[in-house]
C-alpha cells in the first residue's frame, strides 16, 4: 500500500468514525418511537416511573408506537435541551414545558401552533380547565401549549394554632393575613413562614399583589415595575419581617423547602406560598393532621376590596404545558400522545403518581370530593397567567433580584434602597421588552 493510499484510508476511517458519532432522531409511522421530554419527579420517583410505564403500554396498545421518556432535572436543563433541539432541528417530539417558560419556548418559533384541527386531535379545548389555557400562547389564534398539569400556589395554615388564636377562617386579604400573623406571633411562635432567599418565590408575591391592585407589570411593550403599586407590594412583603415582625428572622436565609420544613415543625401559623407537592412533608412533621390548604389573599395590600382594574389572581397560572416540536416527523402521533395523557383517567393517574393537579376539567372536578383539595382546585380555577412575552424571563429575574440584593437590609430591619433597586429592575425589564421581537 502506497503512503498516499494509506493516508487516504486513515482519513476515510476517521471521517466515517466521526460521522458515526452523530445520532439520528426521527422515524415515523407505525412502530415508530415518540420521544417525550418531561421533568423528573424527585419526590415520587418510583410512582412517576410506574406512570410512564403505564402510559407507554397504553400508547403502544392504541397506536402501535413506543414512547421514550427523557427526564430533565431543572428548568435550565430543559431550556438547554430546547436550545440545542431548536438549533439542530432534531430532538424530542413532545416537550412538557413549565408555564412560565412557555412564552420563551413560543418565542423560538420551534413549536406547532395549534389550530382547530390540532385542538380537535387532543380532544378539544373544552376538556381543559378554562384558566389553564391562559398561558398556551399570546392569543387564541397563536397557541402552542396544551395544558398538562396544574400546580397552583396556595397558603397552608396550621389549624390548631389558628383555632387557639381565635381565627375561624383563613385570611382573604393581605391586610387580614398580616393581622392574623400578628395574633399568631408569640413565645417562639411565628405567624408566617416566608422563603425570602428562594430564587422563585418572591416575584410571585409581588406580581400577585400588583395584579390584584390593577398593575400586571407589563402594559403592551412598557414595563411598569417602578410604580407605587409595585413598591407597596415589596413593602408589604418585606414589612412582614421588618415592621410587623411576624416572620422568623432566620427566614432571610430560607428557600421554599426550608420554609415548608419550618412550618412543619408546628410553630408557625401560615406558610405563605406552596402547592400540593408539599403535602408529604406536612404530613411527616409535627403538623400531621393539623394543616389545611387555603387560597392566597386576592385583595391587594391596604385595601378591603379589589379596586377597579384589579384581577382576582389567586395564583400565577402554574403547571406544565405540552408542546409539539415542529421539526417532528411524527406530529400526528405526538398529538395522539398528548390526547392520551390529558384524558381524564390518565390525568387522575398522574395526580396519584406525582401529586400535580389535573388540567383536565372533569378530572379536577372529580377530585373536589377531597375537602383538602377544594382550595387548591379553586386556586387552579382562579389562576391568572403572567404576561405572555418573551421578555418575561428577564422581568422575573429583575423582580427576584430586588429581593436578593435587599436581604442584608432586610436582616437589619429596613430596606432604604428599595427605590433605586426598583429603578434598576424597571430598566432591566424595559430593556428586555424593547428587545422582544
Amino acid at each position: 500500500m502506497s503512503r498516499r493510499t494509506r493516508h487516504a484510508a486513515v482519513a476515510l476511517v476517521l471521517v466515517a468514525g466521526l460521522a458515526g458519532c452523530g445520532g439520528g432522531d426521527g422515524g415515523g409511522g407505525d412502530g415508530a418511537t415518540l420521544d417525550v421530554l418531561i421533568g423528573a419527579n424527585t419526590q415520587y420517583p418510583q410512582e412517576f416511573k410506574a406512570w410512564q410505564q403505564s402510559i407507554a403500554e397504553q400508547f403502544k396498545a392504541q397506536t402501535g408506537a413506543s414512547v421514550r421518556f427523557e427526564e430533565f432535572a431543572s428548568a435550565n436543563d430543559e431550556l438547554t435541551k430546547i436550545q440545542t433541539s431548536v438549533v439542530s432541528g432534531t430532538g424530542p417530539d413532545v416537550y412538557a414545558v413549565g408555564t412560565t417558560l412557555t412564552p420563551t419556548a413560543y418565542s423560538t418559533g420551534a413549536f406547532v401552533k395549534l389550530d382547530d384541527e390540532a385542538w380537535g386531535k387532543v380532544g378539544g379545548k373544552d376538556k381543559f380547565v378554562p384558566a389553564t389555557l391562559g398561558i398556551s400562547g399570546p392569543d387564541e389564534r397563536n397557541q402552542v401549549g396544551v395544558p398538562f398539569v396544574s400546580r397552583p400556589f396556595v397558603m397552608v395554615c396550621n389549624t390548631e394554632l389558628l383555632r387557639a388564636a381565635g381565627i375561624s377562617e383563613p385570611a382573604t386579604t393581605w391586610d387580614e393575613l398580616r393581622d392574623h400573623a400578628k395574633k399568631l406571633t408569640r413565645d417562639g411562635q411565628y405567624g408566617l413562614a416566608v422563603a425570602y432567599k428562594d430564587n422563585y418565590d418572591p416575584w410571585k408575591f409581588v406580581w400577585g399583589m400588583s395584579a390584584q391592585a390593577g398593575n400586571p407589570l407589563v402594559d403592551g411593550r412598557t414595563a411598569k415595575v417602578q410604580d407605587p403599586i409595585v413598591k407597596q407590594a415589596y413593602e408589604t412583603y418585606f414589612g412582614w419581617l421588618t415592621t410587623d415582625k411576624v416572620v422568623d428572622p432566620a427566614a432571610v436565609g430560607w428557600t421554599n423547602s426550608q420554609a415548608i420544613a419550618a412550618f412543619a415543625e408546628g410553630r408557625t401559623g401560615y406558610m405563605a406560598l406552596t402547592s400540593t407537592t408539599s403535602a408529604k412533608a406536612l404530613d411527616s412533621g409535627a403538623t400531621k393532621g393539623k394543616w389545611t390548604f387555603a387560597l392566597l389573599p386576592t385583595v391587594p395590600p391596604g385595601a378591603t376590596a379589589r379596586p377597579a382594574g384589579g384581577v382576582e389572581a389567586a395564583s400565577i397560572l402554574s403547571g406544565d404545558n405540552l408542546l409539539v416540536a415542529d421539526y417532528s416527523d411524527d406530529q400526528d402521533l405526538a398529538f395522539q400522545f398528548v390526547k392520551l395523557v390529558t384524558d381524564q383517567q390518565a390525568q387522575l393517574d398522574y395526580y396519584k403518581a406525582a401529586g400535580n393537579l389535573p388540567a383536565n376539567a372533569a378530572a379536577l372536578q372529580s377530585l373536589q370530593s377531597d375537602p383538602k383539595l377544594v382550595p387548591v382546585a379553586q386556586a387552579a380555577q382562579k389562576s391568572v397567567a403572567t404576561p405572555f412575552t418573551g421578555a418575561w424571563a428577564d422581568i422575573q429575574l429583575a423582580l427576584t433580584n430586588v429581593v436578593v440584593q435587599s436581604i442584608p437590609d432586610l436582616a437589619k430591619g429596613g430596606v432604604p434602597q428599595l427605590d433605586s433597586r426598583l429603578a434598576d429592575a424597571q430598566k432591566a425589564a424595559q430593556s428586555a421588552l424593547d428587545r422582544a421581537k
Partner: protein, 295 residues
C-alpha cells in the same frame, strides 16, 4: 559525516489534530462568531441568519456588570491562591518524612479536594445559614455571625470555602516538588551543619519554586472559572458581591437567553485568563519539550 535525521511520520498527528480542531478550535471560532451576532431566543432557530451586531455585544458587556464581575473574580481568585500557598507547603512539609500514620494524614488532607464542588457548596451552605451551625457556635461566645450568604460578607464566604476546597491542590504540587529534591542535598546541608530554618529557606523552598508557581497559576485559573461553588452557595441571581464572571455569563446565557452577549462576555473572560497564562509560560519557559528537542 553527519548522521541523517530520521524521517518523521507527521501524518500520525492527524487524529490528535482533528480532535483538537473539533474540541477546541471549532467551538472557539463559533464562540467568537456568536459574540458578533445578535443571537437570542428570537433568532436562535435561524442562528446563521441572526443580525450582525459587530462589537455591540462587547460594548454592552462592558457597559453592564462585566467590569464589576471581572474585579470580583480576579480579586477572589488571587486571594484564594495566595491564601492556599502556606497551607499547601506546610502540609507537604508535614507529610514528607515517613512516620506512623502518615498515609492516613495524607489521605485526610485530600478529602476537600476529592469531594465534588456541589457537595462542598451544599454542606457549607447548610452550615452558614442564619440559624445554621456556624452562627449557633459563634453565638455561644457572644458573636453575632450575621449573614454569610448575602451581602458583603458573602464575598469572604466564597473566598473561605474556596480556600477550604482548593488548598490540597497546592499541597499535592508542593509534595511532588519536595519528592524531587535529591537526598544528597539534604545530606550535604546536614554535613554543613545547617539548621532547620536555613535548610528550609535555602535548600527546600528553592526546589519548590517551579512547582508551586505552576500550581499558583493553575489554581488561579481554576478559581476564576469556578461556577459550581458560587452557584450552589448563593443561587442565581447572585448577590452583587459574589457575581463572578461565570455567574454573569450563566445568567446572561441561560436566564436572559442572550447568547450573543454571553459569548462576548465569555470571550473577554478567555482573554483575561489567556494574558497571565501566556506571560507566565513565556517567562518561566515551562515548555520543556521545546528545550528538550534542541540538540
Amino acid at each position: 559525516m553527519a548522521k541523517r535525521e530520521p524521517r518523521r511520520d507527521l501524518w500520525l498527528l492527524t487524529p490528535g489534530g482533528l480532535l483538537m480542531t473539533l474540541i477546541i478550535v471549532v467551538p472557539l471560532l463559533l464562540a467568537f462568531y456568536l459574540s458578533l451576532i445578535d443571537l437570542d431566543q428570537y433568532t436562535l432557530r435561524r442562528w446563521l441568519d441572526a443580525p450582525f451586531a459587530g462589537l455591540d455585544n462587547f460594548a454592552e458587556a462592558f457597559g453592564s456588570g462585566l467590569p464589576h464581575a471581572i474585579g470580583i473574580s480576579v480579586s477572589f481568585a488571587v486571594l484564594s491562591t495566595v491564601a492556599t500557598v502556606p497551607f499547601g507547603i506546610a502540609a507537604a512539609l508535614a507529610t514528607q518524612n515517613a512516620y506512623r500514620g502518615r498515609g492516613l494524614v495524607r489521605a485526610l488532607f485530600l478529602v476537600p479536594y476529592v469531594l465534588p464542588s456541589f457537595v462542598v457548596a451544599t454542606v457549607w451552605r447548610t452550615m452558614l445559614q442564619p440559624d445554621g451551625i456556624v452562627n449557633t457556635v459563634l453565638a455561644t461566645v457572644n458573636i453575632d455571625g450575621g449573614l454569610w450568604l448575602s451581602g458583603p460578607k458573602s464575598y469572604w464566604t466564597l473566598v473561605l470555602v474556596e480556600i477550604w476546597a482548593a488548598w490540597p491542590f497546592l499541597y499535592l504540587m508542593a509534595l511532588a516538588g519536595l519528592q524531587s529534591v535529591d537526598s544528597e542535598v539534604y545530606e550535604a546541608s546536614a554535613i554543613d551543619g545547617a539548621g532547620w530554618w536555613p535548610k528550609l529557606t535555602r535548600v527546600v523552598l528553592p526546589y519548590l519554586r517551579g512547582p508551586v508557581l505552576l500550581a499558583c497559576l493553575l489554581a488561579t485559573l481554576n478559581h476564576i472559572n469556578n461556577f459550581t461553588l458560587p452557584y450552589v452557595l448563593f443561587g442565581a441571581p447572585a448577590p452583587d458581591d459574589v457575581n463572578v464572571m461565570p455567574m454573569i455569563v450563566y445568567v446572561t446565557s441561560f436566564q436572559s437567553l442572550r447568547f450573543g452577549l454571553s459569548a462576548a462576555m465569555a470571550i473577554v473572560s478567555l482573554l483575561l485568563i489567556a494574558i497571565p497564562l501566556f506571560v507566565y509560560l513565556r517567562a518561566l519557559r515551562l515548555d520543556v519539550h521545546e528545550e528538550g528537542g534542541r540538540r
